[in-house]
């Protein structure tokens, strides 16, 4: 009876059609277009017909090799040294441009490792992409644990029975409702090397001992500064998700723990933490997905500089796809990004399923 009442193919389809159509056109279709374009030489505007190029874009992006270099020997048979007493090695460029080594063609030095006198040079077809990939992975690897941990700390602070604690919750959450673009420009002023607030503050706290740092203009500090700012902006968001998780833990468990005379740490270890397991996975996955997609901060603060030290995957995808109108190159990076995000999501599924 009730089944009959709620069966209606026409109305059902009609009501769902607009949203299905929009999601199909503007999410699902471009997703498959990304995969398709990454196998072609598609450009935004081009007089030539688009060609299928197979895995060429991926080879251009991910091509890596290692060149083993032995130091040069001088005429007298000893190892040659330059003015500073450093060993001299053959120029990498002489190998990547030589016809004897087709496997190195078009590659540039990414970095080198010394083992004894031998130098191992890692060469990449696309050094900038490799830096973007590594920076993005660093961004994720630092942000995920630090932001999740700090957010949990804040949630525990807010979760105590104190008068007026909700005022503090409101303040901690404030930066979340401020645009990351606004925050990035504001922090450019805070990080400024000449008259930035941070340098002035540190100098004041150390009675002038602290030497000013150009936070965003220095290859050693730029990425870390952007990570710190991103955490400051988003940590309140994850605090709220932790809080929602904390509220699902039955109070009777805490009462039982109190009767048993368990210490604060024991209560956290045996009552609170086990009850937060699923929340923990969720928080980590959401942070990871957000961190992989980092773009606005980079575009507003550093444009990938100094010296590519803050390049990221999405910044590179946009620079190619939009800046150079190389749709296929941008799409290829997008597919690589998606594969990374998918791997994280599958890992999440695996970890949550294991316990149920």
């Amino acid at each position: 009876m009730s089944r009959k009442l709620t069966e209606n193919n026409g109305a059902g389809w009609a009501f769902a059609a607009p949203s299905i159509l929009l999601i199909g056109l503007f999410i699902i279709l471009p997703f498959f277009l990304a995969i398709a374009f990454s196998l072609t030489d598609q450009r935004l505007i081009s007089p030539n017909a688009t060609r299928y190029v197979g895995a060429e874009n991926y080879r251009d992006l991910l091509g890596l090799n290692v060149i083993k270099l032995e130091p040069e020997t001088a005429d007298d048979g000893t190892l040659a040294r330059d003015k500073d007493g450093n060993l001299e090695y053959p120029r990498v460029r002489s190998l990547t441009r030589s016809d004897d080594y087709p496997q190195y063609r078009g590659m540039r030095e990414w970095f080198r490792v010394h083992a004894g006198d031998t130098a191992y040079v890692v060469v990449a077809r696309d050094v900038v992409f490799m830096r973007a990939l590594v920076n993005t992975l660093i961004f994720v690897a630092v942000t995920a644990p630090v932001q999740a941990g700090l957010a949990l700390g804040l949630a525990l602070l807010i979760n105590q029975r104190l008068r007026g604690v909700n005022v503090f919750r409101a303040v901690f959450f404030m930066p979340v409702v401020v645009s990351i673009v606004v925050v990035s420009l504001l922090w450019r002023f805070i990080y400024d090397g000449n008259d930035g607030l941070l340098n002035a503050l540190l100098s004041g706290l150390t009675f002038g001992l602290f030497q000013p740092v150009d936070w965003l203009g220095n290859t050693h500090t730029a990425l870390g500064s952007i990570i710190a700012m991103s955490i400051w902006q988003a940590v309140g968001f994850h605090m709220v998700i932790w809080l929602a998780g904390l509220q699902t833990i039955p109070p009777t468990l805490y009462e039982a723990a109190a009767i048993e005379g368990s210490s604060k740490w024991q209560t956290f270890r045996y009552v609170t933490w086990p009850g937060l397991r699923n929340t923990a996975v969720l928080v980590l996955v959401v942070i990871t997905m957000q961190a992989f997609a980092v773009f606005a901060q980079i575009d507003v603060m550093t444009k990938g500089g100094p010296l590519d030290s803050t390049q990221t995957l999405v910044f590179q995808a946009v620079e190619r796809g939009y800046g150079r109108q190389d749709i296929s190159g941008g799409s290829t990076i997008s597919v690589v990004l998606f594969v990374l995000v998918l791997a994280i999501s599958l890992a999440q599924r695996y970890f949550t399923r294991e316990r149920n």
């Binding site: 709620t6 209606n8 193919n9 109305a11 059902g12 389809w13 009501f15 769902a16 607009p18 949203s19 299905i20 999601i23 056109l25 503007f26 999410i27 699902i28 471009p30 997703f31 277009l33 990304a34 598609q42 105590q160 104190l162 303040v171 404030m174 930066p175 979340v176 401020v178 645009s179 990351i180 673009v181 606004v182 504001l186 002023f189 805070i190 008259d195 607030l197 002035a200 004041g204 709220v240 998700i241 699923n278 969720l282 928080v283 959401v286 997905m289 997609a293 606005a296 575009d299 999405v314 995808a317 946009v318 796809g321 939009y322 749709i327 799409s331 997008s334 998606f338 995000v341 998918l342």
Partner: protein
Amino acid sequence: MAAISNDNHGLRLAVRYLVLLLVALVFLLPLLFMVMSSLKPDNQLLNDTSSLRAFLPVGDISLENYAGAFRRAPIGLFVFNSVMVTTITVLASLFLCSLGAFSFTFVRWRGNAVVLSIVLATLIIPFETIAIPLLLFVSRLPWIGLDGFSWGWLNTYRVQIIPWIADALTIFLFVQYFKDLPRELIEAARAEGASWWQIYRRVVMPLSGPVIATAAILKALKMYNEQYLWPLIVVQDEAHRPIMVGLGYFFQLNVPWGEVMAYLSMITVPVLVFYLVLQRAFIASIASTGVKG
């Protein structure tokens, strides 16, 4: 149970509040710095950073930076663009996503479950991974407007609105909420011969205040605050530029920091006020995105 002396208890309480207060300052001071800086002339602004004056409305306070920012860029236009795009997208999204979720939840039709799971699967596609192919796609889409037939959606309002109307998260939020509504209501209305449209309009939507608020807040924040990458690549002309892309005017080498802070305050303070008034709804909406289906 040892009796705790009152002194000790008071001290512990004081320490707790002190910790909360110090953490609160970390979040508050940069925002306070932004607003206060927007009220000061540049030379004073740079001097003030070396003392607590940076966070206080002291010295030569005026709205001159705001006037300067308006002279530098067509800010009124940017704000209008953002508010309009946000409003239309939020309203269209609430309507079409709730209608879709209503159909997925209450109406039985062939393929219902399969289509819903395909829709929800798109949750794992970050927008950043489809932006570039979507740029090419919208650049070649046709349109029939008041001035007839045309090709290409670049430099328009529609390119900032239509792709953002339907999304899996909004549909998911409505489906979650609708599932908890008593089914008897729907069946009783059906038995009395009400049409699906009447049930949606008269029975389900009037009961859905909380989820409408949640979906509206999330979408509005996304459209007003976070629309940067997309308009950056599909809108080059000034006429259709939203606020966050309008910031580009303040990227020059000799940045007049006071004006920058004025612009930032102008587009941020209204949102913060809105948030402080509707604090519970904002926080509940974020918490609900963490609910697992």
